[in-house]
Symmetry: C2
Subunit: 625 residues, 2 copies
């Protein structure tokens, strides 16, 4: 291989041959990777800005370390595309985020180079320490590297990891990928603190510089230096203490220019040699190398296909449940000064930017800190405010204990605006919003609504904010309202279409629209079904049970996990009621793989055609018995 000549990425055996390249060849390789990223993500959607920011870092890590013997963990995982390209997934990279394609996040079942599953934030240090200690207990001497963004550092779990890993003497390297730009602009005291460090010259250099100054100081310089170095005085601690990461037991190296491969490598080699917990601070630029993304990284954080044509994609369209929620909450906040809005680093994606624009004093971006968000809301509620926490269903999983312990026992009134409820599509297993109805309904003092269209969402939100006590969740899906049904007679409880059939189709949320199609298909087959759409899904009111009792065959379709879901709650009532029919449940029975929303719904049996077949099949089975 000629060290002077650029090499095509397609001609390299990766990641091994990375180590043979010169720095200038590496730089050229990074350009090639960036072109692949831009080209692919413009077709498949995905995270662009964060991945453009970690190209040199990924190259440097794979040059210094030996994956998969050394273990690399990418926190959150939406910055691991270059890592994927470098570890055997170049040829398949065009299938990113598509059904049966490669995942947008690290997945151990996809590659031995993905050391731990990613998707949710702030868990990488804990996972890395577990892996490092496991290897050590087995007498292995390999390194474990966790790459974690400054956004993920706002999640408390990162500190639990630091506190445990820092006291060890394991080969564990935490790389802070500091791009000063979590999904929304980073917030909190830590962001300010990190930015201050970021602005400093290299820390180790500074230490030496101070000693140098003291060396040159007449009369007291040398004795002072000696005193500082040898005494256990407070002054020593102050002078030699620099970062909180050292308080947690790490050697701190940095900050390093995250787009200078030589500089990163030099630092990683030092970290590797230390063979103990090291914290490497790397400064990167989100969107690096693609001007529109560099200028507006927030807009390019998570993007859909075809969003990149004009270089200025909107994160959410006004035609989306998120925007409808955001506008409506903003409107309500204009009428009532008690309403507060909380987001965990998702101001734009949840539509809370409208609220923020008009009611800054009552808007709170708490960082990626879903636990704090709920307990903070409960605190606000104790003073008579009405907090609304807008959060993705999947990320609300982090708040289970806080909803239960900090809010529900004391019956505090807080509203959970649960976005991305149900299947989310291309992000796959780690992001599906299919558990919220089940885990929230285990908690006393919780009411849940699942509107099926924009108008119902607004009605439910009003009721949640003003009319109900305790914890009220309003859950709504990703994307826009595809419903085609008549909206003239909506309410927040239920709608029962009763044509005196002995077959009833029941559902809630967005798939009501699909079920209406199924009802039509079935009637075409001569099977006429009544219909029940639930809007308030929990607690299940007796009125619902009274209706259901009269049917011979009930089909319940649920876009959520079956175990603990609404269908099961209802079933347990029917089995103890004067009900002689059968209830057939079609819900989700495991993790749901990546695919478009419509394809994933079909895969789990919740498309109109699959629901139709389910009804026909179950009715036939019933005839046999």
């Amino acid at each position: 291989m000629n060290a002077e000549k650029d090499v095509s990425i397609y001609d390299l055996k990766l990641p091994e041959e990375l180590k043979l390249l010169s720095f200038s060849q590496c730089e050229n390789l990074c350009t090639q990777i960036r072109n692949i990223l831009i080209e692919t993500v413009s077709k498949t959607g995905g995270h662009l800005a964060s991945n453009l920011g970690t190209v040199e870092l990924a190259v440097a890590i794979h040059r210094v370390f030996d994956s998969p013997r050394d273990k690399i963990i990418w926190d959150v995982g939406h910055q691991a595309y270059a890592h994927k390209i470098l570890t055997g997934r170049l040829e398949r990279f065009a299938t990113l985020r598509q059904e049966n394609g490669i995942s947008g996040f690290p997945r151990p079942d996809e590659s031995e180079h993905d050391a731990f599953i990613s998707g949710h934030s702030s868990n990488s240090i804990s996972a890395a320490f577990g892996i490092a200690r496991g290897m050590k207990l087995q007498g292995k001497n390999n390194h474990t590297i966790a790459v974690i963004g400054d956004g993920a550092f706002t999640g408390g779990m990162a500190y639990e990891g630091l506190n445990n890993a820092g006291k060890s003497d394991d080969n564990i390297i935490i790389i802070l990928n500091h791009n000063d730009m979590s999904i929304s602009k980073n917030v909190g005291a830590l962001a300010k603190y990190l930015s201050e460090i970021r602005a400093k010259p290299g820390y180790l250099d500074t230490k030496y510089a101070i000693e140098n100054i003291l060396d040159k100081t007449p009369l007291i310089g040398k004795p002072l230096k000696k005193a500082i170095k040898t005494s256990k005085s407070v002054l020593k601690g102050m002078l030699y203490h620099s970062t909180m990461f050292e308080d947690f037991g790490f050697v701190y190296l940095g900050p390093v220019d995250g787009h200078n491969i030589a500089e990163i490598e030099k630092t990683l080699i030092t970290a590797k040699r230390l063979k103990r917990p090291v914290f490497v601070h790397v400064n990167t630029v989100k969107g690096k190398g693609f001007e529109p993304a560099e200028k507006n990284p927030g807009a390019f954080h998570g993007i859909s296909k075809n969003d990149m044509t004009d270089g200025n994609p909107e994160i959410i369209s006004d035609d989306s449940f998120s925007a409808v929620f955001g506008h409506e909450l903003n409107r309500l906040a204009g009428q009532d000064g008690r309403i507060c809005a909380i987001t965990a680093a998702m101001k734009y994606a949840t539509g809370l930017n409208y609220f923020y624009a008009e009611h800054k004093d009552r808007f709170f971006d708490v960082g990626i800190a879903e636990q704090h968000a709920v307990t903070f809301a409960a605190g606000l509620s104790k003073t008579g405010m009405i907090p609304v926490f807008a959060v993705y269903s999947s990320f609300l999983q982090r708040s289970y204990d806080q909803v239960l312990h900090d809010a529900a026992i004391d019956n505090s009134h807080i509203v959970l605006a649960i976005d991305r409820a149900g299947i989310v599509g291309e992000d796959g297993e780690t992001h599906q919003g299919i558990f919220d109805a089940a885990f929230l309904s285990t908690i006393p003092n919780v009411t849940l609504f699942s509107p099926s269209c924009y108008e119902e969402l607004k009605m439910c939100l009003n009721e949640a904010v003003f009319d109900l006590p305790g914890i009220v969740g309003v859950r709504y899906p990703k994307g826009n309202d595809l419903s085609e049904f008549d909206k003239s007679n909506l309410n927040t409880f239920y709608t029962h279409e009763n044509s005196k059939s002995d077959i009833l189709l029941v559902t809630y949320g967005r798939i009501y629209n699909e079920l209406l199609k199924a009802q039509k298909f079935l009637s075409d087959e001569g099977i006429f079904c009544d219909m029940l759409k639930m809007v308030k899904i929990f607690p299940v009111e007796e009125e619902i049970i009274e209706i259901l009792k009269n049917y011979k065959n009930i089909f319940f379709f649920e876009e959520g996990i079956r175990a603990g879901g609404i269908a099961e709650h209802i079933a347990s009532r029917l089995v103890d009621a004067d009900f002689s029919g059968r209830m057939h449940i079609s819900a989700i029975n495991g993790f749901v793989k990546q695919a478009s929303v419509s394809s994933a719904l079909d895969n789990v049996g919740l498309s109109a055609s699959k629901m139709t077949s389910f009804v026909i099949r179950e009715l036939k089975n019933g005839e046999k018995t």
Copy 2:
């Protein structure tokens, strides 16, 4: 009131008249409070050492601040007894932790002086910030004070709170109650760091001392001081930076002797005047004033009635599910070097002290960090180790997302030893272990066992560790094995006692023993019932459904929340099966108040007599329809 004369606590109007006392009267009052604490806890059980440590602190807080206008939040809450005595609950203090008595934890529904609910750890800063900001938004100028122990600081949520509160300019005071002694000996890098600060002289004094030194330094002292004060140099940051709490935006005051009321007061008055986020570091001695507790605070952390007679109570008896688990896991670890044990600051209470004694290298106390514990376990599992996380059911709620996202999606093999499952008694709502079966069974790749006696616990643990993939939970209750049934034919699946009745009683776990009594009572009434004891409770195998289908009346008793519980999973299968009978569910429908375990079980309908009545009543109702 005579400032020279000691005053009986019973003659004071509290908390108002606290402010009229001299320091020496306060000291005498503290002695009176300690005597009340020792006398009461020796009768009622509860947390002694932690409460003995905060007597002066509680007095000082109530002298400096005006509760309930100022809001006081006690993290975890097991150090708030003096606060309770000082705020209107002196007369009722003897009812501590008893049914219909006052709670062992702060409860807003008990007193307006309890600003936020406590029980689980590390949430106080988030709650305090919510309350502070809510008051501020309403134009109120009151103070909010959170008292949090160094143990609670190992929970990541505390950092989420610091990160958000620290950047504000709200009247919020965080008091670190540093007794260097969480439930087990405190662990992690932070503990070391805090101990270093603790050993320093008062920090503000030091700052002044340095400036003083520089003033007196010839030639360069004054210019250096000036340069430090005015420049934005790195040196300034180093010299004026001392604690990580300042990195988080707080003014740091301390450390203060937490048993010197005058000193605490002086510091709190400073903190109050600052009207911005302040962090006060208070050193206390756990068990202060009661020699046996001072010498052995771990043993006096959470104690039962009558434990104090010889001054050396055991935390867990060998006759307990916890100890049986601890011994058995220790035995297994001796046979298999892959087994690791993890606790979240509960080494003794979970029985892991036996494991620790023999296998230190594979034992991990991670602090009060249940999130980290699970993800760390998943990391260990990726390397082929077999991690067992022993945790109270109630505290496992913190790990819901980690079990689901970090372990279950990738189907990592980890064992959850779920202690204090079911009703726990006197600790009340915040500590009941009634949700685990429901929330864990929403997660794919989870298997759950609920043994009903020691022998079954050991059998289930073996199967969980060695034979099953994925996440395996083994849940067992607080206390000892009261079962009286024949143990000659145990297994880990189910036991069906089939006498061809058309009535079946079903349950799992410890209340099987009660249900056997009910079966006897019913047979005395001429009602003969078959019996099914489940040991593997989830997933529900088809074999169970096949048995149940044949009965006309099934009675399912579940010591757990009904919504999402095992009974509902079964009901949803029966309602879609060839089952023409009825299934009657008796489970828990809300939060369970404090009472002895047996009384609480009776209150929720799960004593032998209540179960008997339930069966009789439901059968009669069935006859009518």
